[in-house]
Symmetry: C2
């Protein structure tokens, strides 16, 4: 059974994997902008700041010095060491550089982990709502994401009870994200411990997406590495470090998995971007951190503004988004068709936001994700425009 | 059934995918170099020139201007247009920019094509010897590369007869490379036509690896795009354009496949490196092309030198390597165990080369791949050292 467009057969996986709604929104938003419309972009999960100057300068220096060849498959030793020091300084934990693999974006890390752990027909628990690409990476290799409905009662996160309830013969592990995309909620230390123990008890593997960890607005958000060294952690230079277009991430793997992952990375990537890695070395300079932490405060301020404004309009946000770049709101007061709602908002008012249908099935048609990737003035204009169609 | 290291289960695919021998050679070569040994590196397929200055300068300019965000999933329009013009100028053919997808290295392109075309258990014909990662990409998604033994009689390339002979119920296509890694042989226009017609007759899809096309030493090496617009072509900025560590490649796809490939790329990559794409725009400047073409002549000269020297020593190279960076030699006069031969050559004489076992099964233990990625003086030293262990 294959999809066909008349002369060419596509794989079933190509048929199964759905387009990103956010890209459809973005494409239309760009069309409208070209027509001269004033569009406010609150759709894509990309900080609206350029890469910080010290990182740019390090990148320029690397290019001037000709750092343009392939690099070690697990990353340049300097960057693995810098991340090891980062974990020591930031979290007070000891993560050996050898356990840290540099990857082509967090995307590369997710592919490696799925390829390493999942046989065909194996399943992995993921939250609904959750990051859509997790499902696609599993589908790619003929395994399957099992969507676990999570609710505001559980802060939109997995619990040990949910893990046990949805665990099947075919389940090999569970994936959580803290802070989460799209809800921005986080897991407390005792929650991480409980989930980790539950997954271990069931003989599975825990994977934690900490891509938005640097953009956490609570005083303390624990890394799972503080409580468990047998987990896989996916992280990225894209969000807090502001290097989206450079395509650079990392994985912290259990010691026994590193060699196998490096072997897979040889075949799948050869190496990660070398100039990007040398640029990323500047991420850990004091000057850079100051810039990044200041930006984090800007994001926190935007969250506070937008959360309050959306609530006033009647959007419901039952759990405080404690990190990331998003407010995932229940828009059921206004729509039962979030795809239409988002396209209508874009067409009529020029505000680009993402329908819940990107993130799962449960309540997806009543939810909308707002990314606060514009300054407060723009957010304020956006709120005024949204008001015209919901009031 | 899973591989296990005591506490963790790995997938069968992780077990099946073999390590690159070339990386093992490289790792040991680096160890020896750190110990103060003088090593001549003829193993990895990476030009020993830094990225050309105009490309570096374009990269630096892009960074200075803050081109650091995500870019369009199929690549920045400027680069797709530049490649379209490149095909018109270089090959006299019309390839619409929309058919050209920028990818994270040729690796990204190979993953996309495999994901698009192959269901589990489907097979794809590939040459033995051939590029090892092709097999791994197919294994990744639970499909299978079917190795077709090719011989010097057929210039180490597929023929319509071989395609017919090895075609099975499960076969969905055939993959060829011109110039080929590891043999450097190319396909003539009439051969491309014959293979294309045969694959079409059998209802399959032809994929052509043209990664080394810019490093062809014949006056005319045809692109398959001159004779067929229904094929997938994989290409790269790594080899001729000298941008290995930037991780940038492209695919030319049949018109009807582009939308599906872009959808897959959204999930798997989000985007290719943005700074790399802006840097790559300078690849097509007259000044850059002059530098690159000069380097090509250097490679041709090295090939001539090394081919003659190796032949004098008793290595047999039945087909002239017409492009790429390699001489794939029959070393059966000296060894029946190329893995041992290569490690021995490295340990005793400090010359790093790649055993045939990386490239397939047929004759692999009697073959050795020499990459001419060092200047003629170094190559001459290498030949002297090789002579000490084979004479």
């Amino acid at each position: 059974m294959s999809n066909s467009n008349g002369y060419m057969k596509f794989s079933n996986r190509a048929l199964d994997i759905e387009p990103f709604r956010v890209v459809e929104v973005l494409t239309r938003a760009k069309e409208l902008a070209r027509q001269g419309r004033d569009i406010i972009h609150l759709s894509v999960g990309e900080p609206d700041f350029p890469t910080a100057t010290p990182i740019l300068e390090a990148g320029i220096r690397a290019l001037s010095e000709g750092a343009t060849g392939y690099s070690e498959v697990g990353g340049i030793p300097e960057l693995r060491n810098a991340l090891s020091k980062f974990y020591a300084g930031e979290y007070g934990i000891d993560v050996a550089p050898e356990r840290i693999l540099i990857t082509p974006g967090a995307s590369g890390g997710l592919l490696l982990i799925c390829a390493l752990l999942l046989n065909p027909e194996d399943t992995m628990l993921v939250t609904d709502p959750g990051y859509p690409c997790n499902r696609s990476f599993m589908r790619l290799i003929e395994a399957k994401a099992q969507l676990v409905p999570v609710t505001s009662q559980d802060n939109f996160q997995l619990t040990p009870e949910l893990v046990a309830k949805y665990w099947q013969e075919s389940t090999v592990g569970a994936m959580v994200a803290s802070p989460s995309n799209p809800t921005g909620t986080t897991l407390k230390k005792n929650q991480l411990i409980a989930i980790s123990q539950q997954v271990k008890k069931l003989g599975g593997q825990l994977i934690v997406d900490e891509i938005y960890h640097g953009l956490g607005f609570k005083k303390y958000i624990p890394s799972v590495l503080e409580i468990d060294s047998d987990v896989f952690v996916v992280n990225s230079f894209s969000k807090y470090f502001g290097m989206t277009g450079w395509r650079l991430g990392w994985v912290v793997a259990p010691e026994g998995a590193v060699k196998e992952m490096e072997k897979l990375a040889q075949h799948l990537f050869i190496s990660s971007s070398t100039p990007a890695q040398y640029a990323a070395l500047a991420c850990f300079d004091e000057k850079t951190r100051f810039i990044l932490d200041e930006r984090k405060e800007v994001f926190r301020n935007r969250r506070d503004f937008l959360l309050s404004a959306l609530s006033s309009l009647g959007f419901s946000v039952p759990c405080l988004p404690e990190g990331a770049l998003y407010i995932y709101s229940d828009a059921s007061k206004f729509t039962e068709d979030s795809d239409f709602f988002c396209m209508d908002l874009l067409e009529r008012q020029g505000v680009a936001v993402t329908p819940g249908t990107d993130f799962g099935l449960i309540g997806a048609k009543q939810h909308v994700r707002f990314a606060y990737t514009a300054d407060v003035e723009q957010l304020s204009f956006a709120v005024d425009r949204i008001a015209t169609i919901v009031t």
